[in-house]
Structures are given as structure tokens and as C-alpha cells.
Subunit: 367 residues, 2 copies
Amino acid sequence: MKIVCSKSQLDMAINHVQKAVSVRSTLSLLDSILFVAKDNEVHLTGYDLETGIEVRFEADVIQEGEILLNAKMIAEIVKKLPDETISISSDSQFTTIISSGNSQFNVKGLDASDYPQLPEIDANEKLTIPQSMFKEMISQTIFAVSTDESRPAFNGALLNSNSNVVELVAIDGFRLAVRVEELDYDIPDVKILIPGKALKNIQSILGDNGDLELYTTQNHIKVNVGEVTLISRLIQQDFMDYHKILPNTYSTRIEINTKDFYHAVERADLILPNQDRRYPMSLKFTGSQIMNVTATTNVGNMEDGVELNYFDGDELEIDFNQRYFLDALKVINDENVTVEFNGPVGPCIIQPVEGNYFTYLILPLRR
Amino acid sequence: MKIVCSKSQLDMAINHVQKAVSVRSTLSLLDSILFVAKDNEVHLTGYDLETGIEVRFEADVIQEGEILLNAKMIAEIVKKLPDETISISSDSQFTTIISSGNSQFNVKGLDASDYPQLPEIDANEKLTIPQSMFKEMISQTIFAVSTDESRPAFNGALLNSNSNVVELVAIDGFRLAVRVEELDYDIPDVKILIPGKALKNIQSILGDNGDLELYTTQNHIKVNVGEVTLISRLIQQDFMDYHKILPNTYSTRIEINTKDFYHAVERADLILPNQDRRYPMSLKFTGSQIMNVTATTNVGNMEDGVELNYFDGDELEIDFNQRYFLDALKVINDENVTVEFNGPVGPCIIQPVEGNYFTYLILPLRR
């Protein structure tokens, strides 16, 4: 293989595919980036056997071919090369010369023919979705994807589309995040479970303009964003019928400024040991226009009062894991939210005041 | 103690004194910040028994007194409090209430009377030096301060003043950095060895405008910068007579662009394992206007050619630890440097082309 290409394009392509490169693989193949030069294009691929990212760009292909180069090494070399033009050439012994200006690196590549092939995607369905919209949908649900591998159905988010409505849903057993969007055109019906890691990779390749194209098969998803293609395995598990657990009543209902609420929870978080159910954050509603937030631990205690815009229903004292509130309140861009409680042991629902495109359910901690 | 003060002033003061707070002390006292309220001023102190930092600011002192508060905790609480005004009050049981707006923290402090006293500085000498100048002097020498505790004389930098000349010198056994400045006024003669950690703390409290006042005794240094006072123990060791090891001849002399040289060394550094003397960076001068930089390791090899502005003397091949060049070239702000070599085993001297306020010596590696 011998190519001459632009440093900035190569750097950008490496940055993208590197996200799918295994960081600590036992296979040194998977620490590498696959370079394929053909038809005056270079294709770069990173693949950890679950998610693959491929980027293609135009280059001066002097000799077609392919080589595997250690991802971390090639990324660092490219960043530090002096000129905007880079030449890469490898011989039949996989010795690879990377040069630019007066600088020349001579490193050992690996045989590309040993690299695992990305699955062929013979797609059933194609969804076209604005990138910025899907990026926000991911950011407002991904935190509720569980990393507990003993329950694989919770390790991804459900992508559910039906006529012009697209929905992303994540559940981890203690909370549920649902993000809905309406498009002004119809898309195919799809119901797939995308792994959390793939969602994070998709998020990282999305920009603020233009659409993404999403293709699905029974087992895989393929996402096209400009010159970048991402392929991922899907999770083959049944997803909980979450509509059943969303209550449609409430016993206490408040409306509150999102940032004020967030900052009070942040202050409670300062003295609460993370994930220790013995030390919850307590919310107390006495019927007045103030929500009392308290936290008491061996460190000390913290008391706060946040003004409510609106209060309706029963007085209440209820305990939560404060982190579950932080995760959601951090990504809600609306100025105010409504929070509906169903007694001290029933689920709590957070929604923006305007519209119902985002619904977040948290189970309280039992005293 | 009971005080009411401004959040921004308290936050700034905590940030300064926190640098002298022990991060992992066995004494929980030293993890704390001392608060002393007196005469409508609050004094905050952090002290790790070697370096102490004190900051004072005006506050509304409702009840004089003192308390020790865990540094990390109070720093986080202050950052997250809602209003610009903060009230702190502690009772005789060291229970401390920190409140702002509707938020209130109730934490346990410690008895301030157990806190170690900062040494009294009855200074012999006072030096007044522009802050920005001393900051640059530190940044251009501190990297050559050794952290190898088996040789205490190398764990600090020598501050040497004589009439209107002030000098900071660091040696670690393999290299030497000397930074000299001339003032337009006389300062006392001083010769003290400031610990590297104290130098770093001094650097962190220095701004770009105004002077610092530096007081010395036999055992201590005191630095005043506005409302901030730093006290540190000095190293009681003889410092090497470094003038003796600075050669005043050369066999090869070059002038080179500082950034071009730095970037070539950075590229060599990419494939060189840090601190492994078996894999040096090699410089080669063949009498042409090009300096060849090469590095060969088990990873591969790297070759570079940097244009010289000027070459004089013998042809030469010489090996170095590339990190020693990176450290110095990074902090030299001059466009071009001269480098003088004394054969493949003699010391090498780097200086800016204009002036001799900075001199850096590196010993080569023996092949």
C-alpha cells in the first residue's frame, strides 16, 4: 500500500475510528486500525467485535493495498508530523514508513488479512433522523442504561419507531427514561435494542447539522453520518413493557425550576456517599410553596429549601438516591419541570412543563 | 466563631491555602484549613509542616474565634452554595453551621488549638522582585529540581542574589538550569535553597502584575503577595559550585529555531520509552545545515532533519535523554537558541541567541 493524504483528514478519520478500537484487547489485531487503499480512497476501520466504525476519505493512492497499524501509535504520530501532507507506504513484510516533510517514522504493521471482517448489513429498514435531534435523544436517556451485565436487557436502549414517531427508552431497574420525537415524515416501524456502548459511539459521531441514516437488520444496526459508518450488534432480549409501569395518577404534584432543583440536589450530594442506600436524600412537602431537601450522614447534615412554582395534593416525605435526580435534571434543557409523586413508596415522574417528549421515572428508596 | 463573608473571597482564599494542605496526611488536622476570625478579618491557613499558606480578607466578624474545617469538604460546600453571602458559625463543641440563602450545612469541625503553629519569621533580609519575572524564573528552572529524596541538595533550587542580580539555579545530577535577572535596584545578598514543592506553591500564588516580597531567615522563607503569605522551610545543604561545571569552550556550535527543534524532539519522544537509557535520541551534525535527529527502539525508528541557522566546529554524533531537551525547549520563549557541544561525552549548553539570562546544561548519554 502507498498513499499520500492530508494530515487533517487522516487525523479526523483516526479520531472517529479510534472510538471503536479495543483499549485493552488480548488480541493485538484489535488494538489496530485497518487501512485499506483502493480507487483513490482510503478506508479506516476500528472494530472491537461489537461496534465497528469506518471512515473513508479521498487520497492519492499510489499503490492499492491494506495494512494494520497500532491505533494509539499512528494517532500520536499523525498529530505530531510537521507538514499538512502525509505519505504512508507499507511493504510485503508490513514494514510501514510514515513520512511528512523531513520527518520519517519506520514502524511494524500487522497483516491486514487477519483482521476480522465487519458484518455485511443487508438492511431491512432505513430511518432518516436529524442528527441534532438524535444526539439530544441519546443524551437524555443514555444515563439510564445499566452497565450491570447480569441483566443484558438493561444494557441498551430501545429504539422504537412507528409512523412519524420515534422513541428512545432506557431502564435500569430503578429508573426509566423515555424520549419521544415527532417527525414531519413517516419512517418504518422498528423495535430494536441498541447497546449502551454503541449509543455512546453514535453520539460521538453526530454533529449539529444534517441527517443520519439508520439501517437495521435483525441482528445489527448501521448508522451513516457523512463519510462515517458505524455498525453494531443489537441486544437480542425482550424489552420490558414500560407503559405498564408509568403511573397515570399522582398523590402529590409540584412544578419547580429545573436549575434550582438541580443545585439543591448537588448540595445534598456533597455529603451523601454515592450509592449507599442507608443515606438517602429526603424531600419533604408540607403543603407550603417550599420543598425541603435534607440529607443526614456521618459527615453531618444538609438542609435546603427550594421554592415551588406550584403545589397540589398530599403532604409527603420521600427518600431518593440523589444521583438519579442529578442525571436527569442535568440534561433537561427546559426551565421548569413538573414532578408527580405517588406516596412515599410509589414511583415518581419528572416531565418538562411544556410538552411530554421526555418522561423520567424514579423509584424512591424505602425507609 | 461567627462570620459573614463573601462567597467569592472565601472561595479564592480556600483555593490558595488548599495548595499547602496535606492531601494524604495521617493527621486529620493537616487535612483541614484553619479559620481564625479577629478584628473584622478572617485568616485562612493551610500547612503541611513544610510549607504554610495564609490568606486574610475582610469579613463581618460577629464573634471572634477559630475552627478547623476539612479542606476538601469546605471547598466543595463553598463552591456549591447558592448566594454570594456565606455565614459560618461554630460552637464550643466544634459543630459548624455553614449557610447561604436557603441552604444550610451542619458539619463537625476540629479543635483549632491542636493545629500546629506556623514558624515565626523574624526575617534578616527582604527582597522585592516583580511577580511576573519571578514566575518565569521558576518555570524555567523548576523542571531540573530532582524529586529523588536520596540527594536532598538536589530537591530544591538555589536563590542567589547579589547587589542587583538575582539568580535561580536547579541541578539534578544530569542537567542544570540557571536563570539570571538584573533588577534596576539593589537587593540584599542572599543564598538559600528553596524546596521544589515550595517553589511550585510560590509559582501558583504569583500573578502577572506587582511585586512579591521575599523575607529570609536561616531556616525559612516567607513570601508576601498581596493578601497571601507563604512560609516554607529551607533545605539545609550545601549547593554545588555549578560555575565549575559550565564549560567555556565548545567543539561544535549551532543556532537553531527553538520550536522546530522542540517538535523534532517531540517526534523522537513518541517512540522512545521514557527514562530508558538503552534507547537514546541521537543528534548528528555532518557539517551541513541540517541536524539529523534519530531514535531507534523495538517499536521502530524515527528520523528527522531540522535546518540549522548556523553551524560551527566539528562533525558530531551524540546521544541524549530526549526528555531533558523537551523540558527546557518548552519553556524557552526565544525564537532561536544556540547549542554548544563538547564532543560526544562532554556537557552540552543551551542558551537563547539574545542575552545569557538562561543557561541550560545537559549531560549526554554514553553509548
